[in-house]
């Protein structure tokens, strides 16, 4: 079992949660073992949250788009999810919901109705720690997915190949493990579905009429479930999803030997997520020191995580929603069916600059363009929650350690100290100085403007 210490526990929280506060870290350390921490809180099943509003069960209608309700509801849906993330405590469920949203990428631009995307979000939450094979079966006939990848109205006689291709390429097996003919045959099996409002129904007359089709060399009269079972019998499938989990939670360049181990665990547990995650998060591999601080935070981790870190009681979800678009991670609007590629693709000249603008805004109460941000930091009050708030050097140390997974040099620390002191000397520093508020603002902005802050 990996060493139990604050660095390792911080690493585990950084990867399994949307960031953490110093209080979160001290609660986590109270569990005193990885088994307890994972079983009793991080991987624990928690109650299903109440829906954002009653619109989730209204039948989708074109009128809601012309009336502007669709847009309003998506905003509510976003705020609701941001709030679940912000209030996640020490539980990983919402992180897994986002993982699945990214994995089974659907775009609101094409799905249109938030009701359908909400139902899909509920499905992800249901299976966050559940059976992945069952999730693939259900997602294959999920109305949002049927709309998004054109399973809706696909007929066996002239099937639409869109879903069949992405099912194999992106959702289960990965490129190179199937043929174009496998796609064509699977497309027949997946035909026959029709979406009406909130539900999808199977219309036998629209299904394929052949006595059987051949997929990966096996001929049978497959239906959706049998096809998914057959896909999960292929060796590539367990490895593919394990590789994706590894890249998301450990390091973006996979260690294939370890992925083989993960896949064995996954198969042995009949594709249940929880034992796989437990295996991953108690492995020596996960806690290998070189991986700590090697992940570039995704925009949701950056926005929600910084709000958690700064202990903001009610962060501005409107700000987060608007900034999520600029930072290229608008929820329910991934760039395409492959989802967000992550890591270095988050960063361009533009998005890097917007990240700094976002962290500044939590301190200044203003966005990059001057729009007001509510719920901003009260720097003196926050600083005083640190034990060493009155000792400048120690305070800079404590904040750097908590804020930055990547240790900074003495030179950078001395720059941060100078920023904090703003002309006064160490001996005279106090959060009760008349100018302390301004100094602390500058200081917190500077810490979060360091490129190291983008890593976790």
């Amino acid at each position: 079992m990996p060493v139990w210490n604050a660095t390792n526990v911080g690493h585990l929280l950084a990867r399994t949660l949307f960031g953490y506060s110093k209080n979160d870290l001290s609660i986590a350390l109270g569990y005193a073992s990885y088994n307890y921490l994972l079983d009793l809180t991080i991987l624990k099943d928690v109650p299903t949250p109440a829906a954002p509003n009653t619109w989730v069960s209204t039948v989708p209608a074109a009128s809601q788009t012309t009336s502007g309700e669709t847009g309003t509801w998506y905003r509510e849906f976003n705020y609701w999810w941001f709030n679940l993330m912000h209030k996640e405590g020490l539980n990983m469920r919402e992180k897994m919901v986002l993982f699945f949203h990214n994995h089974f990428s659907n775009e609101r631009d094409k799905v249109v109705y938030p009701q359908n995307m909400y139902a899909q979000n509920v499905l992800f939450r249901k299976y966050a720690f559940g059976n992945f094979k069952q999730l693939v079966k259900e997602i294959s006939i999920d109305p949002s997915m049927l709309i998004y990848l054109d399973g809706n109205n696909s007929r066996g006689a002239a099937p639409n190949e869109n879903y069949a291709r992405e099912l194999m390429e992106l959702f289960t097996m990965g490129i190179g493990n199937y043929t174009e003919n496998d796609i064509k045959q699977a497309a027949k099996v997946l035909s026959g579905w029709q979406v009406s409002g909130l539900t999808a129904s199977f219309v036998p007359a629209r299904w394929y009429t052949e006595t059987g089709v051949t997929v990966f060399g096996k001929t049978a009269k497959f239906d959706v479930n049998a096809l998914i079972d057959h896909i999960f019998d292929q060796k590539a499938t367990a490895e593919f999803i394990c590789r994706k989990l590894y890249k998301e939670f450990v390091y973006y360049k996979p260690n294939e030997a370890f992925i083989t181990q993960m896949a064995a665990v996954f198969r042995a547990n009949n594709f249940e997520m929880k034992p796989l995650l437990k295996f991953l998060f108690t492995s020596e591999e996960f806690f290998t020191a070189v991986y700590i601080g090697s992940k570039i935070k995704n925009p949701t981790e950056l926005m929600v995580g910084t709000s958690k870190l700064l202990e903001l009681p009610s962060p501005d979800y409107i700000n987060m929603y608007d900034m999520s678009k600029l930072l290229q991670m608008q929820l329910f609007q991934p760039p395409n069916v492959a989802g967000w590629p992550g890591q270095r693709d988050w960063i361009s000249s533009t998005t890097y600059s917007y990240r700094g603008g976002f962290t500044d805004s939590l301190i200044t109460g203003k966005r990059y363009n001057g729009v007001a941000v509510t719920g901003k930091l009260v720097p003196v009050t926050y600083a005083q929650t640190f034990m060493n708030s009155e000792k400048a050097v120690e305070f800079v140390d404590d904040v750097s350690t908590l804020f930055l997974a990547f240790p900074i040099t003495a030179k950078k620390k001395s720059f941060l100290l100078d920023t904090l002191l703003g002309g006064t000397i160490v001996k005279n520093w106090s959060t009760y100085l008349p100018g302390a508020n301004v100094n602390l603002q500058q200081f917190f902005k500077a810490v979060m403007r360091l490129p190291e802050f983008q890593l976790c």
Binding site: E169, R344, S348, T350, Y354, G356, Y368, A405, P451
Partner: protein, 512 residues
């Protein structure tokens, strides 16, 4: 291409680029550089510009350049075929999509070269893998992690990343940097949506000159520092060029037109960036494709026409060429949801004042398909890239061969591109462009060996009205702009007589 330094050494050194803004800067937020940091190389001389337009999703080539006289086309696409009477006639039974009126008028002026049926062997039908192939310029079965434009830029800016040129090496309008500009030694692209906003955003960025450690996390930090340094360095020159530059024509209110408008303004304002990337998405037309596809091509066609007009009015058009590409074309057969599934080859458009204009290649064969029911490509996409690198951006054939790790025959896309000699043919006269013409016309011929030629203009009665050129030529392509403003409207003949014995005649219509 392989650099001697290891990748991590490069990353270490790259971080040094941020020198200039020290750690001790007073006051946060910091300021963008007022003066240029040390270590900048002298500016690369103003040259030609390539504007790449990516059509994301897989453009349906058969409904773009339409074989509207082919019964098989109508049989395979009963619900989505576009009729001859609706389409815009080009030549040899090829028609443009009806919404491409802007493109058609540029084509009529000789400013559009359309290369038919472009693809590669063993085509990939995954959006992501196929996009990577087009961006990296690889064979289907080879995975490259560097963009072909990045490899060109590495050649053009050998000092990078140790020293950076004054102007951005590549600009992408958008937010997420394309693989096209990425390489092992760093990223070549500066990515933004609006020059002024970009400048404002960068003004709070901090930089330092520390070298990150040689660890996995250190590599990511070095990467972040490289991006922040490049942003600081280039935001000012981009903003200044945008302020100094202008647009002389009105652009439609579409996203692509906005992107092209910014590109025109930056070029006009003196930005020396050689490559730009603009993007338009929505081409993955699996269902109900007719309206969507029409709308997309209207957007492209109108935006491109506005851009071309703008550049020409500002007299900077000769330096700029646009090229479209998409990750694949679509299936010949329509599917059951009045759309098309992923396919293979499709046409590419190369647009500008210096292109030869016209169609290269014929309509694709709709009956000789691959086992999947898809088109077999006629040209390799890297023939187009090679031609542009060579004939527009001035690279040697040695360099283009290095970039693609293979030699590709060029295509007659540009006026200075070599024509392709057909068996037994020693000399070729091209169609006059534009035709009909008014004021000026461009006449072009190619000799495939040394010979004596006379290029002359005749009336329909066979009377010689004037000699345009007479003399000895070596093997090569020759272009003659002719002033025809004094000729009355009517039909004329352009004739090329060669000492090889051949005489070639083309009809020219002059209008006033």
């Amino acid at each position: 291409m392989k650099k001697e330094l290891t990748r991590s050494e490069f990353l270490r050194r790259m971080a040094l680029l941020s020198g200039g803004v020290g750690l001790g800067i007073s006051g946060i937020p910091g300021q963008a550089y007022a003066t240029l940091p040390a270590g900048l190389s002298a500016s690369v001389s103003t040259g030609n510009v390539l504007v790449i337009i990516q059509l994301a999703g897989g453009n349906d080539g058969l409904n773009t350049v339409i074989p509207a006289e082919n019964d098989t086309y109508f049989a395979k696409r009963p619900d989505i075929a576009i009729k001859k009477v609706d389409a815009l006639a080009l030549k040899n039974s090829m028609y443009l999509h009806p919404s491409m009126t802007g493109m058609k008028s540029l084509y009529d002026q000789g400013n559009v070269s359309i290369i038919q049926n472009v693809g590669y062997a063993n085509p990939n039908r995954s959006h992501f893998r196929a996009t990577d192939i087009w961006n990296t310029g690889s064979d289907s079965n080879v995975v490259l992690e560097e963009g072909w434009a990045a490899r060109y830029l590495a050649e053009k800016y050998p000092g990078y990343p140790i020293s950076m040129p004054l102007h951005p090496m590549a600009v992408q309008l958008g937010s997420v940097e394309s693989l096209l500009f990425q390489s092992d030694i760093g990223r070549f692209g500066t990515v933004f949506e609006d020059p002024n906003l970009f400048y404002q955003l960068v003004s709070g960025t901090l930089a330092d000159d520390e070298i990150p450690p040689a660890t996995l996390a250190g590599d990511e930090l070095a990467f972040l520092k490289q991006i922040s340094s490049a942003s600081i360095q280039y935001s000012t020159v981009i903003r200044d060029s945008a302020l100094k530059g202008a647009n002389s024509s009105t652009y439609p209110a579409t996203n692509l037109a906005k992107q092209l408008g910014i590109v025109a303004k930056l070029i006009s304002g003196g930005l020396e960036t050689p490559v730009y990337l603009c993007t338009i998405g929505g081409f993955d037309t699996h269902a109900n494709q007719l309206n969507q596809h029409a709308n997309l091509w209207k957007q492209i066609s109108d935006a491109v026409a506005a851009f071309q007009k703008d550049l020409t009015t500002q007299k900077i058009g000769d330096r700029v060429t646009m090229m479209t590409f998409s990750e694949f074309g679509r299936r010949v057969n329509q599917n059951g949801t009045t759309g098309t599934d992923h396919g293979t080859a499709a046409p590419m458009f190369v647009i500008g004042n210096t292109v030869r204009g016209g169609l290269i290649g014929d309509n694709p064969n709709l009956t000789n398909l691959d086992t999947n029911g898809d088109l077999k490509a006629n040209f390799d996409y890297r023939q187009v890239y090679t031609t542009i690198l060579s004939d527009h951006l001035g690279l040697s054939t040695t360099s283009t061969s290095q970039i693609f790790q293979k030699t590709f025959d060029r295509l007659p896309i540009f006026l200075n591109s070599p024509l392709i000699a057909e068996a037994g043919v020693k000399v070729t006269l091209l169609d006059p462009a534009p035709n009909p013409a008014s004021g000026h016309v461009r006449l072009q011929f190619a000799a495939f060996e040394a010979m004596r030629v006379e290029l002359a203009l005749f009336d329909m009665q066979g009377q010689k009205l004037g000699t345009i050129f007479a003399g000895d030529v070596l093997s090569g392509t020759y272009t003659y702009p002719a002033d025809i403003s004094t000729f009355p409207a009517g039909t004329y003949l352009v004739s090329l007589a060669a000492s090889t014995g051949s005489r070639i005649t083309k009809r020219l219509i002059i209008i006033n």
